[in-house]
């Protein structure tokens, strides 16, 4: 059902089967449509063949978060199809047409935007296709198009019926409507329907789904890279005597940028063994040599110094005097370690040269435009001569999108060093993934909150220090304003809580290693701090944590939406009436336009072991296009947040990563959370993110539950390193 495709391919197949109705956008944003003859300029969102086959062209990559199903649902809804009447293909790389509307002329998936930026585009394309088919049928039958409709893929009305395919040829000659009529929410049959199933389930349960790792091009070589232990080290020489004993080893060569040595072999196992047998000399003069303790000390010191940036441009002295006059000051310092993404499918991609002089990259590409541009530079070819074929990705959590297209560039450099007659498949091992990777940066926060006699907040002094993600990347111009990398403070600087007397300071510290967005980006630490602080302040005020938060969510729609998920989660969790021997903790957070509240219920105790009995979640993400996919994303996001904060961290000794493989970076396991219960708030607001927003509140809700059951206030992570055992 799924096919990785390129525009060349689908134009070719369109020509072979006769008429095709394709609806998409012109570069100027106008709806456009065409049949097989005049389609050269059109990159569609939907195509309908003369045999009635309908295919959604999905511009976002599928790493499990559901856009293949989601965008197909929008097209099927507007045309009037059942879900088994639509299939999907991944769009070719094209930054003009398939761009993420939030990223500019750049195609990519991230920031939980797949549905939010595609919702109207794909509905409009589906609706235009419907109107064109109905107009064509109405003309043929001599009736008013208004008397016709499409139901389950059949054109019906005026006493007639016909299949879609019958009018594809005629419809493809029509001009698309400028503003097609979109269905009203009351007409929705698929959008919001919890019975709609994922389109990619069948291929993922029988081994037939093709991930990039599964590609096996004829005559391909497998390449693994020997990298320095310390980031920034440069290869100066190597000895491959040992590698030559490995059957299937072909050759080794220092990459043009000296960042590593490429080991070429006939197959993956030979590449792994040959790389192990290689000894490399490194120039470490400009490599990172610091350890985690030094990185932490720098961050902690920055929290005590005058911050570089006044994030909210607020009056620091007013906050200071409010705290001086406060009846009580609640103070806490937090530290967040580096974290790896560790998607299940280790990084990989394949590059080949075609006979007509093009370069093709096969990749589970999260931001196709990045590697597309990088390869165009490396191969000195125009963008049209580079093709990125997006394949299924075995997870990403942000890792498959790096500003410098790191692994795709490695593969390209390994490929340029060959005579290009054999495709090169670059494979990373799990050790490569954990040790040579990009990490959620380390961050520290120091917060001092003053409360009055009644327990109300009078001042909130919040210092943040850590390693910027966006500075020194092409995204700097978009995200960094007045020196402040928004991704360092998001979730704190823009919290919906209406807190008086806030001062927020930010200081950038030196990057120890490459930093990268990690599922939920800055919210991974800001939500933790905001929600543990709210809990501590409520406790100091002697008030219920849910009621206390609600006092600061009084006016405004943002606040009302946040309050309603909080109330819903509390109600569904039976807040305040946990069974004997159990305690609850709560957290609520807004990220990527969505509001999520979570209540974690635990049993046991910190020394013998805490057991996570239940997580209850309420989410408001606007119109819930695929409710079951949203629930799955909340379940997964909760697991991701809880698993890492329970026991994972990346640490450095002398610049080298201490962790090797999963045993040292232990994933969440099936028994860690006994139950998750997700509730979706009904909404007619535009859809917002679901891939990330489930993650931020999970760890602070767990921390608050652990405190409630008599455990420590966890202000540094992971939890197992700071006095808590899990059963």
């Amino acid at each position: 059902m799924t096919m990785n495709t390129s525009r060349r391919n689908f134009l070719k197949s369109a020509a072979a089967t006769g008429a095709v109705l394709m609806v998409g956008l012109r570069p100027n944003g106008a709806l456009a449509a065409s049949g097989s003859g005049t389609s050269a300029q059109l990159t569609p969102f939907v195509k309908i063949s003369a045999d009635g086959t309908v295919t959604a062209i999905v511009k976002h990559f599928e790493k499990g978060q559901g856009p293949a199903t989601g965008l197909s649902t929008l097209i099927a809804e507007e045309i009037g199809l059942r879900m088994d009447q639509i299939s999907y293909e991944f769009a070719p790389s094209n930054p003009e047409i398939y761009n993420n509307l939030f990223f500019g002329p750049f195609q990519g998936t991230g920031g939980s935007t797949a549905m939010a930026n595609s919702f109207m585009q794909y509905r409009n394309a589906g609706a235009a296709a419907r109107e064109m088919l109905l107009t064509a049928a109405a003309e043929a039958w001599g009736v008013d198009p208004g008397s016709l409709r499409i139901e389950e893929g059949v054109i019906i009305g005026a006493g007639q019926s016909a299949s879609l395919g019958d009018f594809v040829a005629a419809a493809s000659k029509l001009t698309p409507p400028e503003t097609p009529r979109l269905k009203e929410p009351s007409e929705f049959r698929l959008i919001g329907n919890p019975a709609v199933r994922r389109l990619d389930s069948p291929i993922k349960v029988n081994g037939s789904a093709m991930f990039a790792m599964d590609l096996h091009l004829p005559n391909q070589m497998v390449v693994m890279i020997a990298r320095p232990e310390q980031r920034g080290g440069l290869a100066t020489g190597f000895d491959d005597t040992g590698a030559k004993d490995v059957k299937g080893f072909l050759q080794a060569a220092i990459l043009p940028n000296k960042a590593g040595v490429a080991v070429y072999a006939e197959n993956t196992w030979a590449a792994m063994q040959a790389r192990d047998a290689l000894s490399v000399e490194w120039d470490l003069s400009s490599a990172e040599t610091r350890g985690s303790d030094e990185i932490k000390s720098e961050i902690m010191a920055a929290l005590e110094a005058e911050p570089s940036y006044n994030v909210l441009q607020s009056d620091q002295s007013a906050t200071r005097s409010a705290l001086d006059d406060a009846a009580q000051v609640v103070e806490q310092t937090f530290y967040f370690p580096l974290l790896a993404h560790a998607p299940m499918e280790p990084l990989n991609c394949t590059i080949e040269a075609t006979e007509d002089g093009r370069i093709v990259l096969h990749d589970g590409a999260q931001m196709p435009t990045g590697p597309h541009m990088a390869l165009s530079q490396i191969f000195e070819l125009p963008m049209e001569k580079i093709e990125v074929r997006t394949m299924l990705a075995g997870g990403s959590f942000g890792r498959r999108a790096t500003p410098d297209a790191d692994y795709q560039v490695e593969a390209a450099l390994a490929f340029v060093m060959t005579d290009r007659s054999r495709p090169v498949k670059l494979v990373w091992s799990r050790e490569d993934d954990l040790r040579s990777g990009y990490y959620r940066p380390a961050f520290g926060h120091k917060v001092r909150v003053g409360i009055d006699d009644a327990g109300g907040i009078v001042g909130w002094d919040h210092r943040i220090a850590g390693q910027s993600i966006m500075k020194d990347t092409p995204f700097e111009a978009m995200v960094v304003k007045d020196g402040v990398d928004h991704s360092s403070v998001e979730g704190a600087s823009d919290t919906p809580y209406q807190i008086p007397g806030v001062f927020m300071g930010l200081t950038d510290t030196k990057k120890a290693t490459s930093t990268l967005w990690w599922r939920a980006v800055g919210h991974t630490h800001t939500a933790y701090v905001m929600e543990v602080m709210m809990d501590m302040v409520a406790q100091a005020a002697g008030q219920d944590p849910v009621q206390y938060r609600l006092q600061y969510l009084q006016d405004g729609t943002d606040q009302a939406r946040m309050a309603s998920v909080l109330k819903l989660a509390a109600e569904k969790a039976g807040w305040g009436s946990a069974p004997e021997g159990r305690s609850q903790g709560v957290a609520v957070h807004k990220s990527f336009g969505s509001y999520v509240a979570e209540v974690v219920e635990v049993s046991g105790d910190p020394s013998d072991g805490i057991k996570i009995e239940k997580v209850t979640c309420a989410v408001d993400c606007g119109i819930a296009v695929n409710p079951d996919v949203i629930k799955a994303q909340m379940e997964g996001g909760i697991g991701y947040g809880i698993g890492h904060n329970m026991r994972d961290q990346i640490t450095l000794s002398g610049g080298a990563v201490d962790q090797f493989n999963f045993p040292d970076y232990e994933p969440l396991r099936i028994g860690d959370i006994k139950e998750i219960d997700v509730h979706i708030v009904d909404s007619n607001e535009a859809p917002t993110g679901v891939g990330e927003p489930g993650t931020p509140p999970a760890a602070p809700a767990l921390a608050n539950a652990i405190s409630a059951i008599g455990g420590p206030r966890l202000s540094a992570l992971p939890m197992v390193e700071h006095g808590v055992n899990f059963a």
């Binding site: 499990g64 997870g395 396991r669």
Partner: protein, 154 residues
């Protein structure tokens, strides 16, 4: 060296060095890519196959130890009554997200149901502990196994 084994009911001869993990023979030589590489050190379960009906981690099973044995991979699990019930349950409940770990999850789930027709939640958690899912689809894996047990009982 030449090794012979039975793969999904067919006799296959493969050329490989002794000490080659079965995983890489299956993926790179026999070109069955449903069995996945996740860690290579028996810590994730993505590479789980059945050796004479028993789930094993193929990344830590050498080709010489599979010689003469019956190897079953995800590609043939629907031929098994339990296997097809598990697949059916997985689709009904949309267990998968990225899907990369799911071949291994299903192979382990079949192993569990073969031993225990009606596992409790705790028994599932214990048996499935070694199968990591970075997308954290665990709630649905647990429900999927219980649903498959129900399908098989009917």
């Amino acid at each position: 060296m030449a090794f012979s084994l039975r793969l999904n009911g067919e006799s296959r001869e493969v050329q490989a060095e002794a000490g080659t993990p079965l995983l890489w023979v299956i993926r790179d030589e026999l070109k069955l890519t449903g069995t996945k590489f996740g860690c290579g050190v028996a810590a994730c379960g993505a590479c789980t196959v059945h050796l004479d009906g028993q789930p094993v981690r193929s990344c830590q099973t050498y080709i010489e130890d599979a010689e003469g044995s019956e190897v079953t991979t995800i590609e043939a699990i629907q031929d098994n009554k339990i296997g097809s019930a598990v697949q059916q349950a997985w689709v009904e409940l949309d267990v998968v997200q990225c899907g990369y770990c799911q071949s291994g999850q299903i192979m382990s789930a079949v192993g569990l149901l073969r031993e225990n027709a009606k596992p409790t939640a705790d028994e599932i958690d214990e048996y499935m502990h070694g199968n990591a899912c970075r997308c954290a689809t665990y709630q649905r894996i647990r429900a999927g196994i219980q649903r498959a047990a129900e399908i098989l009982e009917a």
